[in-house]
């Protein structure tokens, strides 16, 4: 047992003698303000990577053309059907839909709401996100219903020698 208060006059280092809890001064107003300042710092640091990728895009490094990637053969995709593929990376899900003889559309099919995979419903003629029933126009990729507000990124495709190739991801026209 400590005898620091057992002297006369005793060495008083708190005001009331009877408050002796651990960390009792930890979340006073000053500590709370320090926490707030620290949170502001966390916000500042966490906005750095966003700034970095935005600067990278502004300098045109993100505009690069990806190597053309074969999606499927024309003969394997009947009109009105869809096929899923990956473009440009191995983890970027995309969907190709054949609308008519020579009309193909392709989108990156991560829903612009919360990135669920959007799929093609042939009977209803629209693209549907199963998570919150977001719907997208199949011709433009624009959202038509539900929570998503941004269009799906479109992928340019090219037909060459009876095969369909993904060429590049189109920019938004904001």
């Amino acid at each position: 047992m400590s005898d620091k208060n057992n002297k006369i006059p005793f060495n008083e280092d708190n005001y009331t003698h009877n408050i002796e809890r651990n960390n009792e001064r930890k979340l006073d107003r000053r500590g709370f303000m320090k926490t707030l300042v620290g949170a502001a710092g966390v916000f500042a640091v966490s906005s750095l990577p966003w700034g970095a990728v935005a600067a990278k895009e502004l300098m045109g490094l993100g505009e690069k053309e990806y190597p053309h990637k074969k999606i499927t053969d024309v003969s394997k995709l009947p009109i009105g059907d869809a096929v899923e593929f990956k473009f440009p990376g191995d983890h970027d899900d995309a969907i190709l839909i054949r609308l008519s003889d020579n009309k193909y559309v392709a989108y990156q099919n991560a829903c612009t709401h919360l990135r669920c995979p959007v799929f093609w419903v042939k009977e209803q003629g629209e693209m549907i996100c199963p998570c919150h029933h977001g719907k997208f126009d199949v011709k433009t990729g624009a959202p038509t219903a539900g929570p998503p507000r941004r269009p799906l990124p479109e992928i340019q495709v090219k037909v060459e020698k009876d095969a369909i190739y993904a060429v590049r991801v189109k920019r938004y026209e904001a």
Binding site: G41, G51, A54, A55, E57
Partner: protein, 63 residues
């Protein structure tokens, strides 16, 4: 002891602005308006020294 809550209020306001700027920044990124991303990211970073300044100014303020 008279309490002064001015510092707490200012810091809470700064944090609120942090949240708003971050939200704008992320949304503008996905809209591909990259200039706006840089603007809001910069504002977010500027808010931090501002918060430190507000803390130091108000912490020893006497009533």
């Amino acid at each position: 002891m008279k309490r002064r809550y001015l510092g707490v209020i200012i810091l809470a306001g700064i944090l609120l602005m942090n949240i708003i700027f971050t939200q704008y920044m992320v949304h503008q990124y996905y809209y591909e308006n990259y200039e706006n991303v840089l603007i809001f990211g910069g504002l977010n970073i500027v808010l931090f020294p501002l918060a430190v300044f507000a803390y130091k100014k108000t912490i020893n303020m006497r009533a």
